[in-house]
């Protein structure tokens, strides 16, 4: 029974990774850059929701909504100031900038909120579900997280395939120059992608901190990196891939923490990344890209 409980926790954590991974995978697919600061947007989202809910006493739903709006604005600002001027720069320069932004957000949060970590109270008030005569309990957070992740995934897939903006995104990801010739505003498309990614980060942040209540300036970095691992695992650029990768990674992490070593949980996740990149660098659902000579 404990195995099933671990499995469910793994799927729940994996769903959060999946939502974060979406932000990575869409930005990577469209802007061809690794937005290293994505994980830290989650941390900022956590602080925003925490401030409105616990300090100012607003309702959880309103706090999360404010969190979504402010994170979206943050994502757009980062893109505009730090990434947009570097569209034609070498990828090394863009990556270093993104690392700078990530580091900036972390240390800004540290200065404003202090080194002491905050205890985030859950935004979810769904009662836990008791199964098999009380031997298996599923938390309210899990009951919300998993369906919400599926809803986001499905609606995002429909948005990308059916809407004009979504098809513009596909076009930009396939060929930026050709997209310009077809009358697509590349800058706007990339900005929208960042906005969606950051809004999702805020949702992920509400879900993640509701389960793992510890909120500090660095608590976004590790989930962020793991979600990137998940995005690579599923095949970078692929929306369903992010979901599969996220959930698999969540399960691997929880199970290995339970049965192998608590302290080495992160190391094992990284080992998975290395193995995936060596065996199938394009991920489970990724496409092969050939360099043109």
């Amino acid at each position: 029974m404990s195995f099933i409980s671990y499995l469910i926790n793994g799927i729940s954590l994996g769903s959060v990774y999946a939502i974060i991974a979406l932000g990575y995978t869409m930005v990577y697919g469209i802007a061809k850059m690794l937005n290293f600061a994505h994980g830290d947007v989650i941390m900022v989202g956590g602080y925003i929701i925490f401030t409105f809910m616990s300090t100012l006493g607003l309702s959880p739903i309103l706090s999360v909504l404010i969190g979504i709006i402010l994170c979206t604005l943050l994502g757009l600002t980062i893109e505009h100031i730090a990434y947009k001027p570097l569209r034609k720069a070498p990828s090394l320069a863009v990556l270093i900038t993104a690392i700078g932004v990530s580091y900036f957000l972390q240390n800004m949060a540290l200065l404003i909120a202090g080194a002491e970590s905050k205890s985030f109270s859950s935004v979810i008030s769904v009662p836990p579900l008791s199964l098999a005569e009380g031997r298996l309990t599923i938390s309210g957070e899990t009951l919300v997280t998993i369906p919400l992740c599926i809803i986001i995934m499905v609606s995002l897939t429909i948005f990308v395939r059916k809407s004009k903006t979504g098809r513009g995104m596909i076009a930009v990801s396939e060929d930026k120059d050709a997209a310009v010739l077809m009358g697509i505003n590349v800058n706007k498309t990339i900005a929208i992608t960042f906005a969606i990614g950051s809004a999702l980060a805020a949702i992920a942040s509400a879900l993640m901190f509701s389960t793992y209540s510890n909120l500090s300036s660095t608590s976004g970095a590790m989930p962020g990196i793991k979600a990137f691992v998940a995005a690579v695992f599923g095949g970078i650029g692929s929306v369903p891939g992010a979901m599969i990768g996220g959930i698999l990674l969540g399960i691997i992490e929880i199970i290995s923490r339970a049965y192998i070593s608590t302290q080495l949980g992160d190391a094992i996740v990284f080992l998975v990344l290395i193995i995936v990149l060596l065996v199938k660098p394009t991920g489970i659902l990724g496409k092969k890209i050939q360099e043109k000579v």
Binding site: G100, Q106, N107, V232, A267, F270, I274, P281
Partner: protein
């Protein structure tokens, strides 16, 4: 054939300037110490400046010369620090000559870090760009996490390892625990001196510069500039990538040995992502591919925060702004235009034009 000066070592002059700068700085510091006018605070930083400089120039070999971003450089420093400290603690009673023992510790620390560099390089260097960066980060974290739970003890039967606690080492009576998990290694002989640090810095610098200006270094830079063209003239891409990467790792190991012999206790948590980023800041601020710049940046950023209060409080924030600002300054189109219009050369030209104009009018 026209007679050309076949200048084999074209950058000799530049190297001498760098080494001269280090020697002058060293002499000034020694004079200050001798006359008693150096504060203890600064004295304590001298060795640190050396090892941070070594870390910076060794990372510059990977980032500036090989053109690959490594976010796990602290992992190699960590390996060097632990292996070196372990060696010194184990041999402290058998090798009594400090010079020989410390030299061997440095050599062994460098070799182990270099060996890890080869292993990680084989894995990592098949990937490119962003993937490579994230995997080096992963390796750095794995090294840190594994050493953090590692226990090693020694008794008459040999070396015992454990990943859980001291008790499970099953040491016999009289055995000593050397590596104590999260507590790391303590009581390493404090052999690192400023003089040794400076000598090691100059040696590391010469190794890197000579490597860059040799056949192998040219091959590495050719791969950086254009991999496909390098292959087309028969350059073995994998071999030279791994060569540069592991050399960089080995030299980071040297910095690690210097580090662990400078302080009483060395713990693996010190060598995390934050340290890797800090080294990257030195490289970026000093200019990628510019070794002298790396050294200056490392020294300044070690020195300044201790003296300027605001630099101490906002140290990390300043690092992050340095990273972003340097990249925008170098690559944003608006900044490139600004630099073109405000370069020293353009001012000189403007002045020259003004003079010419005045002449005509006169």
């Amino acid at each position: 054939m026209k007679t050309k000066i076949l200048n084999v070592n074209k950058s000799m002059g530049s190297n001498l300037i760098t080494i001269g700068m280090i020697v002058v700085a060293y002499t000034v510091c020694q004079t200050l110490i001798a006359t008693g006018s150096m504060t203890n605070l600064l004295k304590n930083l001298l060795v640190a400046m050396c090892y941070y400089s070594i870390m910076a120039i060794s990372l510059n070999l990977t980032v500036g010369i090989l053109g690959q971003l490594s976010l796990g450089h602290a992992g190699f420093v960590c390996i060097g620090a632990f292996v070196g400290a372990f060696f010194s603690k184990v041999t402290i009673s058998t090798i009594e000559n400090t010079f020989i023992r410390f030299s061997l510790a440095i050599l062994i620390g460098a070799l182990s870090a270099g060996l890890f560099g080869v292993i990680i390089g084989v894995v990592v260097l098949r990937l490119k760009g962003d993937y490579l960066a994230i995997v080096t980060l992963a390796f750095g974290e794995i090294v840190k996490n594994v050493i953090n739970v590692l226990y090693i003890g020694i008794d008459s039967k040999g070396v015992h390892f454990s990943m859980s606690d001291t008790a499970s080492l099953n040491l016999e009576e009289g055995g000593t625990v050397i590596v104590k998990g999260a507590q790391g290694i303590s009581g390493t002989p404090r052999n690192s001196t400023f003089t040794i640090g400076v000598i090691l810095l100059i040696l590391t610098y010469l190794i890197i510069v000579n490597f860059i200006n040799s056949r192998s270094g040219r091959a590495v830079m050719a791969i950086r500039d254009n991999k496909i063209a390098a292959e087309s003239v028969g350059i073995n891409i994998t071999k030279y990538k791994i060569l540069a990467f592991s050399l960089s790792a080995a030299l980071a190991g040297v910095a690690g040995v210097l580090y662990s012999h400078n302080i009483a206790t060395v713990q693996s948590t010190k060598f995390g992502y934050n340290m890797s980023i800090m080294i990257l800041v030195y490289v970026v601020l000093g200019g990628m591919g510019n070794l002298r710049g790396s050294i200056i940046a490392a020294v300044l950023l070690t020195f300044l925060p201790e003296y300027l209060r605001f630099m101490r409080d906002y140290r990390m924030l300043i690092y992050s702004i340095v990273l972003i600002a340097m990249m925008l300054f170098n690559w944003a189109p608006a900044c490139i235009n600004w630099r073109k219009n405000h370069s020293l050369k353009s001012y000189i030209n403007a002045v020259v034009r003004m003079f010419k104009k005045n002449k005509k009018e006169a």
